[in-house]
Symmetry: C2
Subunit: 367 residues, 2 copies
Amino acid sequence: MPLADRLAAYAAVASELGVDAVSLVPGPNFNRAVQHAFSSHERPLLLVIPADRPPAALVPNLELGSWAQVGFDGAVFNWRDQDGYAAAFGDLMRHLSITSLAVEGQVMRVFVHHALKTAQPDLTILDAEREISALRMIKTPQDIAALQSAIDLSERALKDTLARVKLGQTEAEIERMLVQRLFEEGADDLAFAPIVAAGDASAMPHAKARPDYRVKAGDTLLIDFGARKNGFCSDITRTVFLDHVTDEGRAVYDTVLRANLAGLAVTRAGVTAHEIDDAATSVLEDSPFADRIRTKTGHGLGREVHEAPYVMRGNHMVLPAGTVYTNEPGLYRLGGFGVRIEDDVLITDDGYETLTHFPKELTVLSC
Amino acid sequence: MPLADRLAAYAAVASELGVDAVSLVPGPNFNRAVQHAFSSHERPLLLVIPADRPPAALVPNLELGSWAQVGFDGAVFNWRDQDGYAAAFGDLMRHLSITSLAVEGQVMRVFVHHALKTAQPDLTILDAEREISALRMIKTPQDIAALQSAIDLSERALKDTLARVKLGQTEAEIERMLVQRLFEEGADDLAFAPIVAAGDASAMPHAKARPDYRVKAGDTLLIDFGARKNGFCSDITRTVFLDHVTDEGRAVYDTVLRANLAGLAVTRAGVTAHEIDDAATSVLEDSPFADRIRTKTGHGLGREVHEAPYVMRGNHMVLPAGTVYTNEPGLYRLGGFGVRIEDDVLITDDGYETLTHFPKELTVLSC
């Protein structure tokens, strides 16, 4: 798809929202639009796509070389570090002559918001994160191939890592083995800082690996991690038991697995995010462990590890074929242990395909 | 230093700015304040430190377990995914009873800004990125040890990688060797996506490694990369020549090296950021290559790979002992080649200490 067609889709978003233009700043939407990886830093870089006129960009001078590769034929306002960016924002806004702008509220930072308002105090800025990012929701075959590649290499790394886990290793040591294997398998980057959490730490959904906690017999070991490959992310969680499992552990694991499967069972094109979460969460609620529910079922996955659709009750967004989401119910007893099982799921016309293939049966590692 | 003392420093910033409170969102200031690594995602997490009253926080319910480890004894307003965060913002703002708030403009995103303004439309929000982040500028001995550790492992990885470079390898292959070595050497994460740029790509300060460009005799090879270790970042650039170097390459390299040394020569406690940039940039301007200048001399380095002080003309901030900055002059001829030499420099009372020790002499790799 040529750049002009991709930008036209954002112009259409502006029209639908009834605003004069949509802006993008470096991040997943920006990089999808220009098919080039720009990163977000202290120098503002901004692409503005009006509903019915040619787009324009504000580009740091030192990025002009990279920007030339994008093939953008609109007006470009560049600025140098020595001069600051205020004048370029002024020139851009005079050129655009707009009074309302839809922005990505989860990506644009306050200093860019302030620069826009300083350049044009009467500009109305609307947070249209949802509508702008919705263009990323339906994955192309190329997107899915990139996701599958990130997932496959992650699963190979997880398999090897679990085979090397020994009682007495620290969480941090296990994390290091995993990270090394991810890069050996070809990861471009980590999708996020891995969670390697044993015992009581597994009860904290976003725990960090501890350098001083040694895994012991009877611990749960929860590993939630992902790789970035060709711009796309994997996000996988498996929870295993070390040496042995208690009856409570077995019952909790079984409940979480049934919730995961219940979420999958209702997945097909046309389902709502609410319905998937409701199916999975109802299993947890109907169990003896309802007081251990602490999270929604999942989130979209693509260029960002957390993106639309957010799979939670109350989100009645209808999910089309081509949507990829994480199905990751969990149960967490603070001070005790937690279990989470997370798959990456592609919604298809007649059902779903799990892109993750790592076994989900209760696993007790002999280590 | 106990949490209360660290928070008191932010309360003092609020007082100095004449605002009612300072807020922090997950990022380098937040993580420094709470001494715990929280990441930024779609769930708002906000710490508000009033000038003269106890602090308060807004925390996603699923982060309460991690938050408990912080040892925070102020009011906490938590919210669940199912309910959304609007009510918690309302409760927080009623509790705080403030009319002005200083925020980190380079960290806080627009959706949090909107949530604050929705909860309290008359709230004045000031971008105080500079004043808030200034507290990170003077590094403690622990900070410097963490920086040195990140730098040392990075230099070991660079040395091994350069020893393995062969003509005909792609930029992406060289990048992969570097990244694998970084993790083998103990990196917690990449500090940023590495730049591995040969030939014409080296003329783009933020080039990405190309999977289809094979390095050839006579190319420059510019490698700009860093690791994250214990929360701190390294940032190093070296440019080498493959097989042979032209007279132009030699002259440009010599000019950049003299600029780097000129920046170092004026470095001591009490120098301004302007003076360092001026010393380095003047060398470039006085050379036959003045039209190849595209960047300022450098930036602060610490928990973030780009942070205050920004080492550029016009920034008359006085730099105290304990500041760490990157000294990275460069010359870039678009369509030709670029050279950059980057050191990480600690400012001391009577001069400086380069934390990077990788050789800077012109290097022609026999490969």
